[in-house]
């Protein structure tokens, strides 16, 4: 009887040992194999994401280069087509033969040349202002936006208004220019595509967050439209907005107002990063 009990105990122990040890080893190896395969999958996914991100960066870079070239072409065209002929005309008035003319004609020529040079100065000033608005440089984003919206409203085509609620501390000048350009681009888009009758811009702050919101009653965009267009080969202006905001680590959201009547665009910046 004792021998039988001892044998049964031995069988139980050996059974436990075999299955226990095999089970532990299988579990350990299984766990490690699972971890390796899972990690490979995660890394492959991360690599795909990285690739997509790189492609997006490439698109943004191309858009920004194209935009720069377009801007240069525009300035070149302005200088060549407007300033060039004006200066050539002024030169004609002030040629060597002028000394042989009578005094009155000389005076007339000088007056005309002066007028043309004044026009040229004004033209160059306009080009320079379009590159860096003096109001923005001297008085900040609030004044520049208000000024620009007043001019827009003055044209009579659209009712534009802006209100800055909390802009006691100015952003860094380069960041103000970026935000201003984004607003300009958005306004341009609204004017070109939305057929809106009004644009209203408001500025707010919430802790470190800085918000600019634009409402309009035209045909606007949603975030899905923006994401789709920003990723496509077209939509240069939107890519430009995206790349400008990336510099200040800002965000942009396009949505339809809760009332479903207006479209709303929100630019979000972090004051600590942009100041």
């Amino acid at each position: 009887m004792l021998l039988l009990q001892a044998n049964t105990q031995d069988t139980n122990v050996s059974f436990l040992l075999y299955f226990g040890t095999i089970g532990m080893l299988v579990l350990t190896i299984g766990l490690i194999v699972f971890i390796i395969f899972h990690q490979r999958k995660v890394i492959r996914y991360q690599m795909t994401l990285q690739k997509m991100e790189n492609e997006q960066q490439k698109l943004l870079l191309n858009a920004s280069i194209r935009l720069q070239e377009e801007e240069r072409a525009r300035i070149a065209a302005d200088l060549h087509d407007d300033a060039g002929p004006l200066l050539a005309t002024a030169r004609l008035y002030l040629n060597e033969n002028m000394v042989n003319l009578d005094k009155n004609t000389q005076l007339q020529s000088i007056y005309s040349a002066k007028q043309i040079i004044d026009d040229t100065i004004q033209l160059i000033r306009n080009i320079s202002h379009s590159l860096m608005p003096p109001t923005l440089k001297n008085f900040g984003l609030e004044s520049a936006v208000n000024d620009s919206f007043q001019k827009l409203s003055g044209s009579g085509n659209i009712n534009a208004s802006s209100r800055f609620h909390d802009y006691k501390e100015r952003l860094a000048p380069e960041n103000e220019l970026i935000v201003y350009r984004v607003i300009q681009e958005l306004v341009n888009n609204i004017l070109k595509h939305s057929n809106a009758s009004f644009i209203h811009l408001t500025q707010n702050s919430n802790g470190p967050k800085f918000y600019i919101r634009m409402h309009h009653d035209g045909k606007g965009m949603t975030q899905a439209d923006f994401d789709r267009l920003a990723k496509s080969a077209s939509g240069l202006g939107l890519k430009n907005i995206q790349s400008r905001l990336k510099v200040v680590q800002g965000k942009i959201f396009f949505e339809k107002d809760q009332s479903q009547t207006y479209y709303k665009v929100t630019i979000e910046l972090n004051r600590e990063l942009a100041a």
Binding site: L16, L17, T21, M24, L25, I32, Q39, L245
Partner: protein, 230 residues
């Protein structure tokens, strides 16, 4: 060459690689103590056995085995502690280590004072405790490594191979040491072989760990970059 001999000689493999590669990581340097102590302990036990000292001093084997368990625990726990990033897990490891040392010291005291021999009485409680602790914390460390964004392929890191070695060793010998005193002689023979295989595998994995580069080669690839969602 028997499995036992192979396992005895296999300890020299990580030691030689360690001396050749001279790993710079602090955590691996503690391993040198572990490897050296394993060699010294094994050789001392064999010498005492061949010189019949164990017959005249039967408690010596008990003491040496108990001391080995404590020192092995210290080295592996120290290494695991450097691998783990989460402060809560680190604290937890320290708490369970205190529990282990209490158990191990009581066991050592009992070994010194009791009349039982090592063959009759095995350090079941400290060994089982350390096995459970190491298996649990190895899984936690692997889980953390998996989640860390800077890590590339996990098997390109020395940590992975050390953890793998520790896990295989303790998983393979856990039940063997747990039931050692209840096992029949022929079953013991068979399971000693599993123990030798576990030791050989452990030493191979440790050797691979020492062969790994000092810095993770994939580290640069996953450097955080700004994305609009950030």
């Amino acid at each position: 060459m028997s499995l036992e001999q192979l396992s005895i000689y296999s300890i020299y493999l990580p030691l030689l690689i360690f001396i050749w590669k001279k790993p710079k990581q602090k955590s691996i340097r503690v391993f040198l103590i572990y490897l050296l102590y394993t060699v010294i302990n094994d050789n001392a036990l064999r010498y005492f056995d061949s010189a019949n000292i164990l017959l005249t001093h039967p408690k010596l084997e008990n003491i040496l085995l108990s001391l080995f368990t404590i020192i092995e625990y210290f080295c592996l726990a120290f290494t695991l502690n450097t691998f783990i990033r989460n402060k809560l897990y680190k604290r937890l490891l320290k708490i369970v280590s205190i529990f282990f040392y209490i158990v191990a010291i009581i066991n050592l005291y009992v070994n010194v004072t009791s009349g039982q021999l090592a063959t009759q009485k095995f350090d079941i409680i400290p060994i089982a405790t350390s096995a459970i602790i190491f298996l649990s914390f190895c899984i936690l460390a692997l889980f953390e490594e998996m989640q860390h964004p800077l890590i590339g392929f996990i098997y390109n890191t020395y940590k992975f191979w050390i953890i793998l070695g520790v896990m295989i060793y303790f998983a393979g010998t856990f039940f063997f040491f747990l039931y050692y005193t209840k096992m029949a002689r022929d079953l013991k023979e068979l399971f000693w072989n599993i123990n030798w295989i576990s030791i050989i595998l452990k030493n191979i994995f440790f050797s691979i760990a020492f062969l790994m580069p000092n810095e993770d080669p994939n580290r640069e690839y996953y450097q955080d970059e700004y994305s609009p969602e950030n």
